[in-house]
Symmetry: C2
């Protein structure tokens, strides 16, 4: 199962089998049940997660008491509350399994040791964060430029498997509208 | 003037004077006049900018023909269209000087050489992108959670010098409302 992580590292950095075996010892493999929380609002966030299998989401509970999803992570994605993780602060978010999942987890302090012993992993994480930031720059543009309905169609056109895979009420929560409104949009497009 | 860059690197990575002198040779110092464009929509984006002095902004022209600002960069900030920069693609954005500015610029291909000759810079850029992505995660939360008016007050409370420094019509463009509406909000708060 850790092969998926090995292949992911190999996309960005050169790590041989022996090094990879050592790198892997810095991580824990964790199974998470659907709806189980890996992070709860108000708790100190010390862990970063790499999804081996399944799907996680990050959300916060807004002032109206509604869960607002801000991020999904499927296979090969990292997910944490990055501000809280770097500074070991209480988080404003939840991280929860959307499907039964298997993740690699690493603690903040362990990551520091990993990076000092395997500087090649600086390159790996540089790429991870560079691409994540690049994606968020584009998402910001869509948030300004597209209506919610257009953003849904954009997702559907560019990431059809993702939209199929995620329960519709969570897609609605990510887009910031009600499940009923999402049904309407979908019906409109089909007709 | 390059001292500001040296101090910025020192925050995240260990680089001695001799190394820094060599690292600096990978960059160009560039003076930019207020309103001058460093990047134009449709042009291939090959350059990444570090602001030594002054202020830049990134914007796109939306479907209504209105400039929508998505990002500012003041001293110690990097700015580019990261998707286009990594893949050498035509950009969907403009990067323009808000004030007369001085920047360090590096070309994509030069950055690759820099990173292979000075792997310590992988650590530096890992931190840059990690923090930028962390900030964008929080911004995403505010975009979902706060009204435009609340977001303005949040900016004003947390970054008063920034709000003072940037022309009001650009703050309005960043927040996605008209300068007139911003004046109303400001008047309301004063009263």
């Amino acid at each position: 199962m850790s092969d998926i992580f090995k292949r992911h590292i190999a996309k960005f950095a050169e790590v041989n089998d022996k090094e990879f075996s050592k790198i892997l010892t810095f991580f824990q493999v964790q199974k998470v049940k659907k709806k189980e929380n890996l992070l709860v609002e108000g708790h100190i966030c010390t862990t970063n997660y790499f999804v081996l299998k399944g799907c996680l989401r990050k959300f916060f509970v807004n002032t109206k008491g509604v869960e607002q999803t801000t991020e999904f992570a499927i296979e090969n994605w990292w997910i944490t509350d990055l501000v809280a993780y770097e500074h070991k602060l209480p988080s404003e978010f939840y991280i929860q399994a959307v499907e039964n999942a298997e993740v690699l987890s690493i603690e903040n302090s362990t990551e520091a040791t990993l990076l000092s012993e395997f500087p090649v992993m600086e390159r790996y994480f540089r790429f991870i964060y560079q691409r994540a930031y690049a994606a968020s720059q584009m998402r910001m543009k869509y948030l300004y430029d597209l209506s919610k309905e257009e953003f849904y169609h954009h997702l559907n056109d560019h990431y059809p498997e993702f939209v199929q895979r995620i329960p519709q009420y969570l897609i609605a929560s990510y887009l910031g509208f009600t499940p009923e409104y999402l049904s309407e949009i979908r019906a409109k497009r089909r007709s």
